[in-house]
Amino acid sequence: MTFNERLLALDRRWVFLVLTIFVIIPIFVKFAVPLSPPKEVRDVYNFIEDLKPGDYILISLDYDPGSLAELHPVAMAMLEQCYAKKLKVITLTLSQTGAQMAEEAVRDVADSCLVYHGFKPVPGIDYVYLGYKPYPGLIILGMGMNFRIPFPQDYNGTTLDSIPMMRGIKNYDNIKGVISLSAGNVSDMWVADGNGRYNVKLAFAQTGVGVADYYPYYQSGQIFGIIGGMKGAAEYEYLCKNPGTATDAMRTQVFAHAVVIVFIIIGNLAFFLGRRAKARTQESK
């Protein structure tokens, strides 16, 4: 049996073994994956980076626990970026099952800021969490008039006017941009009602499954950036120099994909070499 033939008849259990090893290694060996974030992801990052301390930004955490793996890392990295830049961050959620989770995210990142940046953003002064209200389309429209229409109080029941950072903040005119992290069609409403009617500067983070549907909005300029799936999340963490769970997951993905691709290449090489060898033996006959 020649080398080719042996390769072509390779027992699939070798594939399984190699894949297992290369999925386990990155869990223990931490190394930086060289990522090259595409323009649509860099656009989001640069937009936030270019804001001045004290500018207002609205981050809408419109995903439910089902999309946690892909969108939570973006939320974490982005919130930390905003806090570190001393922006005033308004957060809310348009997903019914995501209210609790979003609140925890907003608070946890504020806590971790103390460790990494030496200060702790103060609720009501540096950030506010408005909570959840039903009918996303109406909420988005209402906020275009006045935040107080859909959200008379924040998540804890404090009226918006008694929250220091919300004084004088009326509607989208007072904030620099909106970033919606969503796993579904809430993004469509943000485009139609937020950007379409009030000209809000808008960017999205979407799950891997949904992201392809929203690229046309990026191409037409209705949104200024888009972060897609686990890969986008890892790229965002990379830009923020803040590697988290998405980077970890990406390490495994890169290894696993590389294994599959290498096996495909080996298979094809063996196939071609084998065919050439066969052709040669036929010629010599």
Binding site: G137, L141, M145, F147, R148, I149, P152, R167, G168, K170
Partner: protein, 413 residues
């Protein structure tokens, strides 16, 4: 006396607390962004009501002209609220909120519930009255009111004319081609590799002395793909009986199992070997997707069938089954109408029936004129679809108009 002092003290403390509260409030200058109830927007105009067409008699179509304040200005409308009641001058509490629409929308299909004990019950053939409010920032306009109107049910849904035309055309074509086929006119059908492989595969199983595994997928008897699979199963069973080999049919649903048993039994009877049929060869495993796959995988790896046939409705288990079959060294023929699973079958199986080919397979296997007739009718409809796309595209290119954008969508107003 004691009580009077107590009362006095209570009053005093109340007044004091009020004063203190007022103080703190006034020390906090009202923010300019605070929500001041602005002037109410102008009401919507020209409210008209009509029975909702094409329904079961519990719906009203409501239509109005936009409020002058719709879209811009300090008094801008945010939404419209639609209310319904059984009497024009009922108190507010008896007006049921039928729905809300955002600004810019000027109609609403109020589809009420048909059960009288439901909160949203909309009675049939009864006078109903409507009010529509334009809602601004914290305030709403005066109501535009109209009524009475009555809801009736309809006996034909005019929106479904396209489907009706389609069905009639299909029926006419089918009958025509069946008649042609019966008269003995030869209807050509192109070869399908997957179908020709079935014959071969059964022969191979006989040579190897190993069974054939036929998997109907994870659909219920209500899925058309499963029904199509039954029609193929009958013919496969007949061939299996003719070749005197054996078959295994694990099922995910008791009803599917029952129908499959009847089908296989009939196949054996057709082949003239009803005694060879064993009831236990078609059996029920469990009704859940992954346990079913685990069991079928076990069967494949232990029985090492010569051929695995997967036809029907499949989800993520497609690759689990197909790869296990490769491990067992079986020839594999698959087919499903689930586009998302076709890639896995195409990659892992020897032959794959793509989408419509699954439905055509029984005609191929049976070669009966009746079945070939429907196949021909299917082709004619495909041709009609092609012509439709071409013609309407040409119309669009030449007129440049968007009027034909969705030619089958008809407005309900």
């Amino acid at each position: 006396m004691k009580y009077i002092i107590l009362l006095f003290l209570t009053c005093l403390s109340l007044c004091l607390s009020q004063a203190i509260l007022a103080q703190t409030a006034s020390s906090d200058p009202p923010a300019e962004a605070a929500l001041v109830p602005s002037e109410p927007p102008a009401p919507p105009g020209n409210l008209t009501l009509k029975d909702l067409p094409n329904d079961d008699g519990h719906g009203i179509a409501v239509k109005w002209d936009l409020s002058p304040d719709d879209g811009a200005g300090a008094k801008s409308v945010i939404s419209y609220d639609i209310y319904r009641s059984l009497s024009p001058d009922a108190p507010d509490s008896l007006w049921k909120k039928a729905g809300t629409v955002v600004l810019g929308v000027k109609s609403y299909a109020d589809k009420g519930n048909r059960e009288s004990d439901n909160d949203d019950y909309l009675p049939k053939k009864t006078n109903l009255y409507y009010r529509v409010y334009a809602v601004g920032a914290g305030v709403r306009s005066v109501a535009a009111a109209a009524g009475p109107v009555q809801a009736y049910d309809n006996w034909f849904n005019t929106l479904k004319v396209p489907e009706l035309i389609f069905c009639v055309v299909f029926l006419i074509l089918t009958v025509r081609f069946i008649n042609m086929a019966k008269r003995g006119i030869d209807l050509y059908v192109r070869p399908l590799a997957g179908i020709e492989a079935i014959d071969e595969a059964i022969g191979r199983a006989t040579e190897m002395g190993k069974p054939i595994l036929y998997c109907l997928g994870i659909g219920t008897a209500g899925d058309i793909a499963t029904i199509a699979s039954f029609t193929i199963l009958g013919r496969v069973a007949r061939k299996v009986a003719e070749y005197q080999t054996s078959m295994i049919v694990p099922c995910i649903d008791p009803i599917v199992m029952t129908i499959a048993q009847e089908t296989v039994k009939a196949g054996y009877a057709d082949a003239g070997r009803p005694d060879a049929y064993k009831e236990d060869s078609v059996y029920y495993v469990t009704s859940q997707q992954f346990p079913y796959v685990a069991a079928v995988n076990g069967t494949i790896i232990r029985e090492k069938p010569a051929t695995n046939i997967y036809l029907g409705y499949f989800l993520a288990e497609s690759l689990l089954l197909a790869e296990t079959g490769v491990m067992a060294g079986s020839i594999q023929i698959a087919g499903t109408d689930q586009v998302s699973q076709l890639p896995f079958f195409v990659v892992a199986c020897d032959y794959t029936l793509l989408g419509e080919e699954l439905y055509a397979a029984s005609a191929y296997l049976g070669r009966e004129p009746l079945l070939l007739g429907t196949l021909k009718a299917q082709d004619y409809l495909k041709a009609i679809a092609l012509v439709c796309i071409f013609a309407l595209l040409a119309l669009r290119v030449f007129t440049g108009a968007d009027v034909i954008h969705k030619p089958f969508d008809m407005p309900w107003w």
